[in-house]
């Protein structure tokens, strides 16, 4: 029988939750990296035992962790303790937590500043890795979305990182500005049908796409609207919260914008709103059913000033029509006095025949549904605030 492994990043460590295909009883393992913020951890699609984790701290900065045994043990993929930090010819050895922006003249248009909250220019400063996206084909290749917004790639299992600087250098980078959560690159979608195509989301710059493996990028924000941006044709400046796709239909993208749930049928070239009958179209996560590309999930949140569900009722909303028409999923979820939030990276779907949906809350609960959202139950109730949820379906 298949096994499901749920990877949970929290404000105070990582947890690994496992169950069989029934997804009724769960083993909870953790905390890993106790006391550290784990923004994200994710497994390789081609080697399920290869996991990557972003471990960070306001005090001590960024650490990258890697596991080769499904999370039983972890290592920093850089130089080992007591090994020399330089090669005999003086070349620095790999340093897995070293994310240095490309300022070389040979990389296109390197940038040193972006727009700050007060409209002035501010230096680009690395703060943390928000999202790790392992390659669809190579377990040693992994992408990292970072704050301040940039995309890095490692091709040696996380030992060293190089910026794909064409993103920041595509032309609008100096106008990017942080959202309330910082200027983060939080979403990385790899197109399974086209290895040269990657979609990314940046708060609060917008969505971008490359069609040449990351060398050049263009904004894909046409059709997005923001009450803060009077220009309807603005190229950038949108507070994209999350992007999602179904692997079988990578040209169709769904987006949770700051306000508005959006859909694109042409790989982001244009967007239309599909918020329909949602009680509020503010929110953070969005995901798509593993087998039904028109079945989409969001968690409406009251407003950008009140980050909790409307009316104290935690409801996932599901559309089976690719948007516009939404139904509330409430069975097993708290329907009174619930004031948690669900962050952008804290929802995931498994690929079992009966698709499982998972999400974590700022109150430390991780909920699971083994029947595509019809019924829910908590796997755990009392973890630290959940930042991210990923799931692996293991044979």
């Amino acid at each position: 029988m298949s096994t499901v492994r749920v990877l949970v990043g929290t404000r105070k460590g990582a947890f690994i939750l496992t169950s069989d295909g029934k997804r009724e009883t769960w083993d909870v393992n953790g905390p890993h990296f106790g006391g550290w913020e784990i923004y994200h951890l994710k497994g390789s699609p081609v080697d399920s035992n290869r996991l990557y984790a972003s471990q960070s701290s306001g005090w001590y900065g960024q650490i990258i962790q890697r596991s080769n045994d499904g999370g039983k043990t972890w290592e920093q993929p850089g130089t080992k303790p007591s090994e020399p930090t330089t090669t005999p010819d003086g070349t620095p050895m790999g340093e897995s937590n070293k994310f240095v922006y490309d300022t070389s003249s040979g990389s296109g248009k390197p940038l040193t500043t972006h727009q700050w909250y007060d409209g002035t220019q501010h230096p680009w400063e690395f703060k943390r890795v928000w999202h790790l996206e392992p390659s669809l084909t190579d377990p040693d290749t992994v992408y990292a979305g970072v704050e301040d917004a940039a995309l890095f790639r490692s091709t040696d299992g996380g030992q060293t990182w190089q910026e794909l600087s064409g993103l920041r250098g595509h032309g609008s980078g100096a106008q990017w500005a942080p959202g309330a959560g910082g200027m983060c690159l939080h979403t990385i979608l790899l197109d399974p049908s086209n290895p040269e195509r990657i979609f990314i989301g940046i708060s609060a710059a917008g969505a971008f796409r490359t069609d040449d493996g990351g060398k050049t990028w263009r904004p894909i924000n046409r059709g997005l609207k923001s009450q803060y941006i009077p220009d309807p044709n603005a190229e950038i400046g949108f507070c994209v919260h999350r992007l999602a796709m179904n692997r079988s239909r990578p040209n169709v993208l769904f987006m949770q914008l700051h306000w508005d749930v959006m859909r694109s049928d042409n790989a982001g070239d244009s967007w239309r709103e599909v918020s329909g009958n949602l009680p509020t179209d503010f929110g953070f996560p969005i995901d798509v059913h593993a087998h039904e590309p028109n079945t989409v999930y969001v968690v409406p949140i009251k407003s950008d000033s009140e980050h909790y569900p409307p009316d104290g009722k935690l409801r996932v909303y599901r559309s089976r029509t690719g948007g516009d028409e939404w139904e509330a999923l409430t069975n097993g979820l708290p329907q009174r006095d619930c004031y948690v939030n669900v962050l952008r990276d804290a929802m995931a779907v498994d690929s079992l025949d009966s698709c499982g949906i998972y999400f974590g809350t700022s109150g430390g609960q991780v909920y699971a549904s083994a029947d595509a959202g019809d019924h829910w139950a908590p796997i755990v109730r009392d973890l630290p605030p959940v930042v991210s949820v990923e799931v692996q379906t293991l044979p």
């Binding site: 306001g58 005090w59 001590y60 900065g61 850089g78 303790p81 930090t85 340093e95 937590n97 240095v100």
Partner: protein
Amino acid sequence: MIRVVLPFHLRTLARVDGEVELEVNGPVTQRSVLDALEARYPVLCGTIRDHVTQQRRAFVRFFACEEDLSHESPDTPLPEAVASGAEPFIVIGAIAGG
């Protein structure tokens, strides 16, 4: 032998218990001590000072002999008691936030 006391999370990262003892060649300064520390424990690179600028991270402080040395030049000699090993060089995660 230079004695260094690391905060809990950095001891965990470096997989050490208690104090770290380091050989430092030449003048004993913040920079030479941290260079030796990072050479012994590469995982600590970037956790105490920035990889590129070598600036102390904002919420990390340096103490020795009951003095806050955080704002001293990284090339100022540390107190003789540190250089002789009588007192440790202490790296502290500043208390901030909740």
